[in-house]
């Protein structure tokens, strides 16, 4: 447990040591979350044993329902698409040191805005008009929603974690107000919804797959945002702001603009996820939009260490767990909150595992600060 590389070593060795430490740190960022997931699996197994259920059966069903067959893979990918977007909604502001947990609000509002804009055009306008309108409405409402959180944060010093979650409840109220009132579809008495957006305006599937285009868009967006945050001046400035606001101000960086723009980008991502949920899956807006994708996205972003590229595989992993939920529920007679509980357990253990960073000498010793 001692630090191996010290200042004053010969230059080539120091360079090699620097590389070793870099690799070590990257390995650390993979191994420690993996350990946390393993630990949550073990704890959850113990919990199942206490309840008299078989952990073996649970994990077998989890595998089969999430990744075992081509059908379950497609189900998994459909569920991971919104998670990529909602995790980006957490990861982008996180680079500026903000913890935004209200992505679900932008998701719901984006989906609702997309449906609300489409409904008056359904019968007569071409999809070439309606689809861009829907996308603009969803992206704009999401961007405004979370952008406002950024504005409050910067100009009023309001804590963004609390305000974003409050705005989630407000977003759901806004949607319910319209869906049960002015925009309610009178022909659908069972569940208050808007009118359908029409088959012509729906987003289709990726050729050869039963997965909609949202997955591709999500992956492209994740890569683009990784480039933005890691390879551009904007991203560099954002990371400086996240590291030390005072230093950023002293450098003359436009801290307020960085915060608001990052939040707006984040909200736009979540709003776009809402658009795909309406335009590729539901076909209309109703209360089932608030299915918790925004909240699972928080876990995805933390598991991915707020790295947009890592978000892609982690979304598929958690999408698989969510996809297996139904099978587990039916076969083992477990409540529908099982997946939520497992996710919560993972989240807690993941954060507890943060304490392990820098404690293992084979990852580059105690010298490497995160």
């Amino acid at each position: 447990m001692t630090s191996e590389t010290k200042i004053g070593v010969a230059p080539p060795a120091a360079a090699a040591g620097e590389w070793m430490r870099r690799i070590g740190r990257s390995a650390e960022a993979v191994v420690i979350p993996a350990l946390a997931i393993l630990a949550s699996g073990i704890l959850f197994s113990l919990f199942l044993l206490v309840l008299g259920k078989s952990p073996g059966e649970f994990f077998e069903l989890l595998w089969r329902g999430g990744f075992g067959t081509s059908f379950s893979w497609q189900n998994t990918l459909v569920r991971s698409a919104p998670l990529i977007f909602t995790a980006l909604c957490v990861a982008v502001p996180a680079r500026l040191g903000m913890v935004i947990i209200g992505g679900e609000g932008a998701f719901v509002l984006g989906g609702f805005a997309a449906a609300a804009v489409a409904v008056p055009f359904v019968d007569w306008a071409s999809p070439w008009v309606v689809m861009p309108l829907m996308i603009i409405a969803a992206v704009a409402s999401g961007a405004i929603w979370i952008g406002f959180v950024g504005v409050l944060r910067h100009y009023r010093g309001v804590n963004e974690t609390i305000s974003s979650l409050l705005m989630y409840y407000i977003a759901v109220s806004i949607m319910n107000f319209f869906v049960e009132g002015a925009l309610r579809d009178p022909t659908n008495p069972n569940k208050p919804s808007t009118k359908p957006i029409g088959d012509a305006n729906m987003v289709g599937n990726i050729p050869g797959l039963d997965v909609h285009w949202g997955l591709i868009v999500g992956i492209v967006l994740a890569v683009a945002l990784w480039l933005l945050m890691n390879r551009t001046k904007f991203g560099f400035a954002a990371r400086i702001t996240g590291g030390n606001v005072r230093a950023a101000r002293a450098q003359g960086l436009p801290v307020g603009r960085l915060i608001v723009i990052s939040c707006a980008i984040a909200g736009a991502c979540a709003g776009l996820a809402g658009y795909f949920e309406v335009a590729a899956i539901q076909g209309r807006a109703n209360a089932s939009l608030a299915a918790g994708y925004g909240f699972t996205g928080i876990l995805v972003a933390f598991l991915a260490k707020q790295n947009p590229l890592a978000i892609i595989p982690v979304s598929i992993f958690l999408g698989g767990i969510a996809a297996a939920g139904g099978l587990i529920q039916r076969r083992m007679g477990m409540p529908d909150a099982t997946v939520q509980l497992l996710q919560g357990l993972m989240f807690v253990l993941l954060l507890v595992s943060d304490t392990l960073y820098g404690r293992f000498s084979f990852f580059g010793g105690k010298g490497g600060s995160r």
């Binding site: 010093g157 804590n159 109220s173 477990m334 409540p335 507890v352 304490t355 995160r370």
Partner: protein, 307 residues
């Protein structure tokens, strides 16, 4: 005449509603106030509240005694708080992030374990009929007040008094304002915060028991919608003063009671907007009471949320 009696009904319903709705706010915010005074923030109280509600309902149903349910909710909440308090003392662990995780974990666990208790009806907490002197049915029903409300009120005064006048209150405040000072005086900062978070969790759990055992009075998955989180915001608004917490809880209760009160006289239009009233109010209060430049007056200096 008709309009006037309508107004009276709305006002009475809001008064009664304010007392009913404010009680969980009161318990959660007092717990959070104690935790934050010690210099740590527990955002997970929403999860604690939901878990407390489930535990209270389940125990009350199984044992037949609602007060045993309240105790169980408190103990469950204390366990959550103790976990939070223990984990946050580890290096590099972020108390805000752990709070978010505990919020999701607490609700997940409550939904999982509470599934069998959604249907059956458990014995409720009794209320005190303080309206015996009145002939009016409306006044009588408005003055049916749950004893937990008075417990909460006494607790608020007690906490306020203890912060100012007792040795323990001083230790908690010192830990919250300057950990090095507490350390220099020979107190373990982590131990003080652990105790404060545990007691805070107990209080939040009791608040949850009120939700499921009195008002709305049944366990369901939509029972709490952000009350725990609003209570955290309320503590900031109340400037970490237990007495102000009490007043703020009443105000929030009145805002929350507005929708149902209007509905009771037949105004159902815009019900969802009135439903949003407490959240909008919380947001406005946060906007009005925060400042980007200086740290808030009365804020514990060690608190990460105000830095």
């Amino acid at each position: 005449m008709n309009g006037e009696s309508g107004l009276t009904i709305v006002l009475l319903a809001m008064f009664a509603g304010a007392i009913r709705v404010s009680t969980p706010f009161l318990f959660v915010s007092l717990g959070e106030c104690l935790t934050e005074k010690s210099g740590r923030i527990n955002l997970g109280l929403e999860g604690t509240l939901v878990f407390g509600a489930m535990a209270a309902y389940a125990i009350s149903y199984e044992s037949g005694s609602p007060w045993l349910g309240v105790l169980a909710a408190g103990c469950g909440g204390a366990l959550f708080g103790a976990f939070h308090g223990y984990v946050c003392k580890l290096p590099k662990v972020n108390d805000i992030a752990i709070g978010i995780a505990m919020m999701l974990f607490g609700t997940g666990l409550a939904f999982f374990l509470g599934k069998p208790y959604i249907q059956p009806s458990a014995p409720h907490l009794p209320s005190l009929p303080l309206g015996w002197w009145s002939d009016s049915q409306a006044v009588r029903s408005a003055l049916q007040i749950n004893p937990l409300f008075f417990v909460g009120a006494v607790l608020a005064v007690l906490l306020w008094w203890a912060f100012r006048n007792t040795r323990y209150g001083l230790i908690v405040r010192m830990t919250g304002d300057s950990a090095p000072a507490a350390l220099a005086m020979g107190y373990s900062v982590n131990w003080v915060r652990f105790i404060a978070t545990t007691i805070g969790g107990f209080s939040a759990g009791v608040g949850g028991a009120f939700l499921s055992l009195y008002y709305p009075g049944a366990w369901s998955e939509g029972l709490s919608s952000g009350q725990g989180l609003m209570a955290v915001a309320l503590v900031i608004f109340a400037r970490w003063n237990p007495l102000t917490c009490f007043a703020a809880a009443l105000l929030f209760g009145a805002a929350g009671a507005l929708g149902p009160a209007l509905q009771s006289v037949g105004i159902t239009q815009g019900y969802y907007f009135f439903n949003a009233a407490p959240y909008v109010l919380t947001l406005f209060i946060m906007i009005a009471s925060s400042s980007p430049k200086r740290s808030l007056k009365g804020a514990p200096a060690e608190l990460s949320i105000t830095k």
